[in-house]
């Protein structure tokens, strides 16, 4: 998710004994979400278990990604007469509290793998009968249907939509070299010209790839952790700012505060389309930390048939291609057209992406957050 700020992937790694109090707090946050929903409550009611509901409710991240979905879903509404109401929130943890506090209100939610991990812990997700999603199972590349975090052997609760790579974008007019690897960002000539993302886990994720390991080893192996930590310190020397939101990173690039910024591919595309041709997105040869977008269906929803129908419809080939164009991130369908393969986040194979094993990564997250803080202040 492009707007994903720290919330998304910097999953909590609180040990189990504090889970209870975190839940307690989530309840409170959910109550706030409920207020936002109150006005729509009437349109939700009456769905019932049988018959066609008047409307279903989609919970997303807001911004361009939600607008893209809205645009597409409207056509489905015209065909079926079922309205799709949209609600947005700041990220996975907020999604969780909204769903927990307002059972039955949300029918489709746009979780990332981090949110899926949290939702599974809380048993919030409905089991999917993939037989109801023929378009998805036929059109989506199988490797992505079976992405590691989806855990096809154990769970059947996730519909993968698109990957978001987190490489970097650089200003080719200001940087004299051709940048291809993570090692290029520690080049002394770039001192004070680099903005990296202000989120501990993705930062550890990318830095670990740069030194030839990965986030899962970092989470389990002390030597890998130490090596990655030192690498982050090294990268820090060129950093003038850690950005908190994608918009901020874009601004730094535009205003030339930054010649290089850690970035999502789709965002760079938008920047290029706005006339900044000199910006080039790089997926470094060592690979990148990866984010993802998915559809999930809360267990509490009473309109699952309609929700599944919507998602199945959205994976019709032409619909998937249209969504991709609006989104700027590639839906990984089979035989992708030029419109998809030309996107910066497009990868030929799922093997060039690495996902964290959330259960172990979360355990280590608090330490990562604190160590990252230490580096920032050094």
């Amino acid at each position: 998710m492009p707007q994903a700020d720290g919330t998304k992937n910097d999953a909590s790694s609180r040990t189990t004994r504090s889970t209870v109090s975190r839940r307690r707090w989530l309840s409170a946050a959910g109550a706030v979400g409920a207020v936002g929903l109150a006005g729509c409550a009437s349109s939700i009611g009456g769905g019932g278990g049988s018959g066609q509901p008047d409307s279903i409710r989609y919970l997303g991240w807001g911004g361009n990604t939600q607008d893209s979905a809205r645009q597409l879903f409207e056509k489905w509404s015209e065909e079926t007469g079922i309205e799709v109401n949209h609600q947005s929130a700041g990220g996975d943890t907020e999604f969780i509290s909204i769903i927990e506090q307002n059972p039955g209100s949300i029918d489709v939610v746009n979780f990332s793998s981090y949110g899926i991990a949290l939702a599974r812990e809380r048993d919030l997700l409905a089991e999917i009968d993939y037989g109801q999603l023929p378009n998805y199972t036929e059109n989506m590349q199988e490797s992505f249907q079976n992405a590691p975090y989806v855990k096809p052997e154990e769970e059947s609760d996730t519909v993968f939509r698109d990957p978001v790579t987190q490489g970097y974008t650089y200003n080719t007019e200001q940087v004299d070299m051709e940048m291809t690897s993570w090692d290029d960002i520690i080049d002394p000539s770039l001192e004070g010209d680099i903005a990296l993302r202000d989120a501990a886990l993705p930062r550890f994720g990318n830095a670990s790839l740069a030194v030839g390991t990965n986030i899962n080893e970092v989470a389990t192996d002390e030597a890998a952790y130490q090596e990655t930590y030192e690498r982050m310190q090294e990268e820090h020397t060129n950093v003038f700012k850690y950005w908190g939101s994608g918009a901020q990173a874009i601004q730094f690039l535009r205003e030339e505060n930054a010649y290089v910024a850690e970035m999502w591919g789709g965002r760079t595309l938008a920047l290029e389309e706005a006339g900044y041709d000199q910006m080039e997105y790089v997926i470094p040869e060592e690979g990148t930390f990866v984010l993802d977008e998915n559809y999930n269906f809360p267990k509490s929803s009473e309109k699952q048939d309609a929700a599944l129908d919507l998602i199945n419809w959205s994976f019709q080939r032409e619909n998937a291609i249209e969504l991709t164009k609006n989104l700027g991130y590639p839906l990984m369908i089979k035989n992708p057209p030029e419109a998809i393969t030309s996107l910066p986040d497009y990868v030929d194979s799922i093997d060039s992406l690495s996902w964290p094993e959330w259960s172990t990564a979360l355990e280590k997250q608090e330490q990562m957050t604190r160590d990252f803080q230490k580096i920032k202040q050094s």
Binding site: S12, T93, E255, N257, T369, K374, Q377
Partner: protein, 280 residues
């Protein structure tokens, strides 16, 4: 403005006793300030086993405590610079400006623009494509640095310092200043011995407002600071949002509140705030 003969329903006017008004006021404070604060205090305690004060132990360790110290340091520096600038400006407006209303309008104007926009404005001003670099060739390290944060906080919060100082200067009787001159004092002596002491209430008010706002700033360091310039609010936000560690965030918030209160109480014992402010 007092509207006379406003038709107030009799039921309301008979029930609107002063006691009701107090209850409304205290109720508001209670529900929206005291209760959340208590909830925060509860959340900050580790009640799920282990040491109850565990979160405080973490909060008072290296990374967090340095951000707390930094916040108060920035708050202090911002307050000092703002008071000097605000005093000079307010002094000019009251005693020299031809068009006082216009000048005050300029002072208040920034209030119409959201903070985030003003900070972004400063960021753009000092950015490589901005006017400052155009003229001077470099931003001289005034962006994404301690200086950047101080400049941002000072400029964003300056009106809050100017207004109370303006108010206190404005309320000085011109004849007192005239008296000082005729008694043989020059401008400087008059400023030091008469004008400044008589405007102290405004200075104190400005200092308190400025210090509280500056110390608790989130956007200033977020938009104008470098990686090492994070302040308390940023640390709390990061701890909560990125780390999703609400207990630790609460503990830091409580520590900050306690220190801030202690600072104000200490200040109060030196300068009786209540007494000084009653002059305003």
């Amino acid at each position: 403005m007092i509207v006379k003969n406003l038709p107030i329903p009799k039921r309301l006017s008979t029930r609107m006793t002063s006691r009701t008004l107090v209850v409304i006021g205290l109720g508001w404070l209670g529900v929206f300030f005291i209760v959340p604060l208590l909830m925060l205090a509860m959340t900050s305690l580790n009640l799920d086993g282990g040491a109850v004060w565990e979160n405080y132990a973490v909060a008072l360790s290296g990374v967090y405590i340095s951000a707390i110290v930094r916040s108060f340091y920035y708050g202090l520096v911002t307050t000092a610079i703002s008071l000097i600038l605000a005093y000079a400006l307010a002094y000019y407006i009251v005693f020299y400006s031809e068009n006082e209303r216009f000048m005050l309008g300029l002072v208040i104007l920034p209030f119409w623009v959201a903070y985030i926009i003003r900070y972004l404005g400063i960021q753009l001003f000092f950015s490589p494509n901005g006017p400052f670099v155009d003229v001077f060739g470099s931003n001289m390290g005034l962006l994404f640095s301690t200086e950047g944060v101080i400049i941002g906080l000072t400029s964003a919060l300056l009106p809050f310092a100017i207004l109370p100082i303006y108010n206190s200067l404005k309320s000085i009787d011109q004849e007192l200043i005239n008296a000082s001159y005729t008694l043989g004092a020059g401008s400087y002596r008059t400023l030091v011995s008469i004008i400044f002491p008589l405007s102290l209430s405004g200075v104190v008010a400005a200092a308190i407002i400025e210090f509280i706002l500056a110390t608790g700033s989130f956007l200033g360091p977020a938009l104008l600071g470098g990686p090492g310039n994070t302040m308390i609010a940023n640390i709390i936000a990061t701890t909560f949002r990125a780390g999703f560690n609400i207990e630790l965030a609460s503990a830091i918030a409580i520590i900050y509140t306690v220190i801030l209160t202690t600072v104000l109480v200490t200040f109060n014992s030196v300068v009786n705030i209540g007494e000084v402010l009653s002059d305003l």
